[in-house]
Amino acid sequence: MIQAPDLPLWAAIIVAFLIFSGAAMTLIGSIGLLRLRTFYERVHAPTLGTSFGTLLICLASVVCFSVLRSRPSVHEILIVVFITLTAPVSFMLLGRAALYRDRIEGNPEVPPQAQ
């Protein structure tokens, strides 16, 4: 399906740019998931998607729908807010769990627990 909403050129350019760069940023984050060596490095990568990727694509959506409906459409902001609130929770919990698992296995790369 090759289709797109009917937008004025300027808006189309903005939307296209935002959406593409957002996707690209996200892809970079996911590539990081592939390329980085340790778990603790990899855990940084997805934040590209949750921060910039989401922000850019949501902005694209805001522009697109605001132009389409000729009134401000900002509900996408909710997504940015929610993802900013929830993604860190996952990462924190996961990071700590990984730390525990590495410590219990005696992985030298992680700092030991102070008694």
Partner: protein, 966 residues
């Protein structure tokens, strides 16, 4: 007439209700009923004697040509009379025979029921009805034979009799059904009138065979004879009744009854004659070697039944007359003999011929009676047995079909009769003459008068009939014969003396041979413990061996054709489903349709590339890496969520996304109770080839199933849409249902009943989970706290300044704040989904799951105790309330006279706010919402609660010191 039939059953019921000690009352009841019936039967005699059959009909199953029909004609009358009269005598006899402590009401109850069944059998004017009563006689004879069920012999004898005769009864049913099919009616009159049609039918032979099997089993014909001797475990009155006038005569009765329509063909002749002949010989031969008096009588019964059968098989009217006559005679003398043996047994405590001797001096009356009856059995002149025997011999000398049987018959008959003489003489001589017996269990003496009376009556009958046949039995016999043979009734004479005829010569020869034979072999006969020639063919043993073989064979076959294991069952299910789906294509061929397809979106394709990888990965990992498999499964699930969005099904996507979350948590909750699996746990033997073969096979099935369903879906998707009901929904959702989201309107309005069922399923599963987990018994390894907690708690315990639980507290301290503040946000979102569902994607279900997720977050953040200290979590009530709201909303329509779930919607004009759309369907959705929260929360919290329960058996060892760094 119906009274005659019903009285015994009523009496049986009454006797069953009597207290166990009331032997006199029971006997009196039974005797009175028998007498009453005899009396009524006698009153019907004049009507029957005219030669016509009396019919009395009661509608039962008219559609099946099956009405209850009593048909009383000459034969029936005579048989009924035998049943009732001998029945009365047996009752009288039994009253004195049965021990005082025996709870006889039950006995008389069975006896009466048996009498009723037998009467029903002979009085049946309808073949199906006849089979009905036939099976009842099998049943009650089973109960009677097994009356002393504390004896092993009675139990097994009863069971054998039941199995053989009931099996025969079922064959008889088939035969009768075939007759019914040929004739078009089960009415006996119709059947008797259709002799030619029956004999000419292609189904004649199967019908004949089935009916004969039935008759032969009941009448103990070779090779089905073996049940009869084993039925001797029954109380003697029962034997006297069953084996003289009733049970075994049922088969004979059917043969006689259907003689006009079945006899006279080659098949009949060959089968019936041969069987009768074999039975005659086998019975007589076995009888001479019996040491047990009842056994002797049993085999003699078999032999005489064979004689009757043989006569019937010959097919000539005269032979039929002889058969009928001998049936009557046999009933009298055999009943009296059994009773006499019963007296001997009763008074001496044994029936062993080798131990008995010289009883004449102790019980002269009984001895005399036995002698007369035995003489009748042996065919001594001036007794009734002699007359029918002469008729038999006369028939034996006739040429019927010119077969080898005809040629040999005189010799065989004489031999058999000689054997009969032999065992009769042996019985009398050995039992009543000779020296006084020694070492008997009881001191023998004469039986009481009332116990002898029945024997005396019967023996008197033998004598009277034997001396003055034409005056006494003549009219009755004629009546019976005429009712069977009708116009074909031959001329026969009941005179005692026909001059020096060939039959007489054979008769005399038989008497001499028998007597001489006894003189020669008497001592040697006593030495036998088994019947020579047939010894190896022990009926009961082989029967039981066959049964055991059948059972063990069945067990082996069951193991072969069935399975108790789950995998093979699922395998079969999948294979059969695949085949079922495939077969039509073998016939019609497979072709995709020509609907223009939708162009592939690269994003969609990539999503599914990932989804498929995840699915395959899940399949790969599920054995050892459950956790990984769970994640992979979630990945595949996400792919399908996204594709629902892509394919214009946002409602599905929302719902599935939410359910995904709950499912993940759910499975993780479960995973805690499943102990770890490691590849190392596998024994090496797993690499064996059958295992690999099975895996390969399963892989094949899986691929076939996948390919099959893929092809099916492709074929449907590429076809144009039929003119479906969807159009109606799309058109009427807004005008008729008040909602713009057609899917939701379908769910809460058009097909709200489905939704009601669906939430019921959810509620039910919640209940089930709740119930099951109340008695949850975790695996031994998982009763303790998980390893992580033990290690962390031990660390906290060790470390200075830390308390047990600090690690957990630290871990959750920050996330829990965010999770807590998110819960009102999620709540608002849930309400939003609920409210907008009717117009846009969302709805009660999605909202409910959203709420559950909010609740779950709190549980994860604060633990079960933490949450339940703050909130009253009562999911069971939410479920109940939700269901009630949904039902009440639906039922609200009744008030307006509309069917259940009829929705109402409108726009309420509320001040300031403006028009607000209100649909009753929204209320219904609120019910759904509540049930979903309740049920999902119920399931999850009940699972979660397992962790905080304290096992009774083992103290919770959280703080167990264990090596390990944190």
């Amino acid at each position: 007439m119906w009274a005659i039939l019903l009285l015994p059953f009523a009496g049986s019921l009454a006797a069953a209700l009597l207290p166990t000690t009331s032997r006199n009352a029971a006997a009196l009841l039974a005797g009175a009923i028998a007498l009453l019936c005899v009396g009524s039967l006698a009153m019907l005699y004049p009507a029957v004697a005219g030669g016509d059959a009396i019919r009395s009909e009661l509608e039962w199953m008219p559609a099946f040509g099956l009405d209850l029909l009593i048909r009383l004609d000459g034969l029936t009358w005579v048989f009924a009379f035998l049943v009732l009269a001998i029945g009365f005598l047996v009752v009288l006899y039994a009253r004195y025979y049965m021990a005082t402590e025996d709870p006889v009401p039950r006995f008389f109850s069975f006896l009466l029921a048996f009498m009723g069944s037998m009467l029903g059998l002979v009085l049946s004017g309808n073949l199906i009805q006849l089979v009905f009563f036939w099976e009842l006689t099998s049943l009650f004879s089973f109960l009677l034979i097994g009356y002393w069920h504390h004896n092993e012999s009675a139990r097994s004898g009863a069971r054998i009799a039941l199995l053989v005769t009931a099996a025969g009864g079922m064959c008889l049913l088939v035969g009768v059904l075939l007759i019914g099919r040929i004739v078009g009616s089960y009415d006996l009159d119709a059947v008797l009138a259709a002799a030619d049609r029956i004999k000419g039918s292609a189904l004649y032979l199967p019908a004949l065979i089935f009916i004969l099997i039935g008759a032969f089993t009941k009448s103990a014909q070779f090779p089905f004879h073996f049940w009869l001797p084993h039925a001797m475990g029954a109380p003697t009155p029962v034997s006297a009744y069953l084996h003289s006038a009733t049970m075994v005569k049922a088969g004979i009765f059917v043969l006689i009854r259907l003689w006009p329509v079945l006899a006279g063909t080659d098949a009949w002749y060959l089968i019936v004659t041969t069987t009768g002949l074999a039975t005659l010989l086998v019975g007589a031969w076995a009888a001479i070697f019996q040491q047990d008096l009842k056994g002797l009588l049993a085999y003699s019964t078999i032999s005489h039944l064979g004689l009757i059968t043989l006569l019937l098989g010959l097919g000539s009217p005269l032979a039929a007359v002889a058969a009928i006559f001998h049936t009557l005679n046999h009933a009298t003398f055999k009943a009296s003999l059994f009773m006499a043996v019963g007296i001997v047994d009763h008074e001496t405590g044994t029936r062993d011929l080798r131990r008995l001797s010289g009883l004449y001096r102790f019980m002269p009356f009984t001895a005399t009676l036995a002698m007369v009856a035995a003489a009748a059995m042996a065919g001594v002149p001036l007794l009734n047995g002699f007359l029918s025997k002469e008729m038999f011999l006369a028939e034996a000398l006739e040429n019927h079909r010119g077969t080898i049987i005809d040629e040999a018959l005189p010799f065989i008959a004489t031999t058999a009769l000689a054997l009969s003489v032999l065992y009769s003489v042996r019985f009398i001589h050995q039992g009543f003459f000779g020296p006084a017996p020694t070492g008997l269990p009881r001191e023998p003496h004469e039986a009481p008068f009332w116990m002898r009376l029945p024997v005396e009556v019967l023996v008197l009958a033998c004598l009277v009939v034997g001396i003055m046949p034409s005056v006494t039995i003549g009219p009755f016999l004629h009546m019976a014969v005429e009712s069977v043979l009708g116009d074909a009734t031959p001329r026969y004479s009941l005179a005692i003396w026909h001059g020096f005829t060939r039959p007489l010569a054979l008769s005399v020869a038989a008497l001499i041979f028998g007597g001489v034979g006894y003189a020669i072999f008497r001592d040697r006969l006593n030495a036998f413990t088994a019947v020579p020639l047939m010894g190896r063919l022990k009926g009961r043993r082989s029967f039981e061996v066959v049964l055991a073989l059948i059972v063990s064979g069945a067990r082996r076959l069951l193991a072969l054709t069935g399975t108790g294991k789950l995998q093979p069952q699922l395998r079969l299910l999948v294979i059969i489903a695949c085949l079922a789906g495939l077969l039509p294509f073998l016939r019609y061929g497979y072709e995709p349709g020509d609907r223009p397809g939708v162009l592939v979106d690269p994003g969609f394709a990539l999503i599914w590339l990932v989804g498929c990888l995840c699915a395959i990965g899940a399949a790969w990992q599920a054995k050892f890496h459950r956790y990984a498999a769970l994640i992979l499964m979630a990945g595949a699930g996400l792919a399908s969520c996204v594709s629902f969005v892509w394919l214009s099904a946002p409602d599905l996507a929302l719902t599935q996304l939410l359910v995904e979350g709950v499912t993940t948590v759910l499975l993780l909750l479960g995973l805690r109770w499943l102990p770890q699996r490691h590849p190392e746990m596998l024994p090496r033997t797993r690499r064996l080839s059958p295992y690999r073969l099975r895996r390969g096979f399963d892989l094949g099935i899986a691929i076939a199933a996948g390919a099959g369903i893929a092809l099916l879906s492709y074929a449907v998707m590429t076809r144009p849409l039929p003119n479906s009901i969807a159009g109606f929904f799309l058109e009427n959702a807004y005008p008729g249902g008040g909602g713009k989201n057609v899917v939701n309107v379908i769910l809460v309005d058009f097909r709200a009943f489905d939704t009601l069922g669906e939430i019921t399923v959810l509620a039910t599963v919640g209940l089930t989970v709740f119930s099951l987990l109340r008695r949850f018994r975790p695996a031994v390894e998982s009763v303790r706290a998980p390893e992580q907690q033990r290690v962390q708690n031990a660390f906290d315990d060790r470390s200075e300044g830390r308390e047990v639980g600090d690690t957990r507290a630290d871990y959750l301290a920050i996330p829990r704040i965010i999770m807590q503040w998110l819960s009102p946000v999620i709540l608002v979102f849930a309400v939003y989904l609920l409210v907008r569902g009717h117009d846009l994607p969302g709805g009660g279900f999605a909202a409910g799951v959203t709420m559950t997720l909010a609740l779950l977050l709190q549980y994860m953040a604060f633990g079960t105790r933490g949450v339940e200290a703050r909130l009253r979590v009562r999911p069971m009530s939410w479920v109940g309330l939700g269901l009630l709201i949904a039902v009440a909303t639906g039922a609200g329509a009744w008030l307006f006279g509309y069917p259940f779930l009829t929705s109402a919607f409108g726009y309420a004009d509320i001040l300031v706010i403006g028009k607000v759309p209100l649909a009753s369907a929204l209320l219904f959705d609120v019910g759904v919402f509540l049930v979903v929260i309740g049920a999902t929360a119920l399931i999850l919290t009940v699972l979660a609660h397992q962790s905080i329960r304290t096992p009774l058996t083992r103290p919770r060892s959280d703080a167990e010191p264990e090596a390990g760094e944190l």
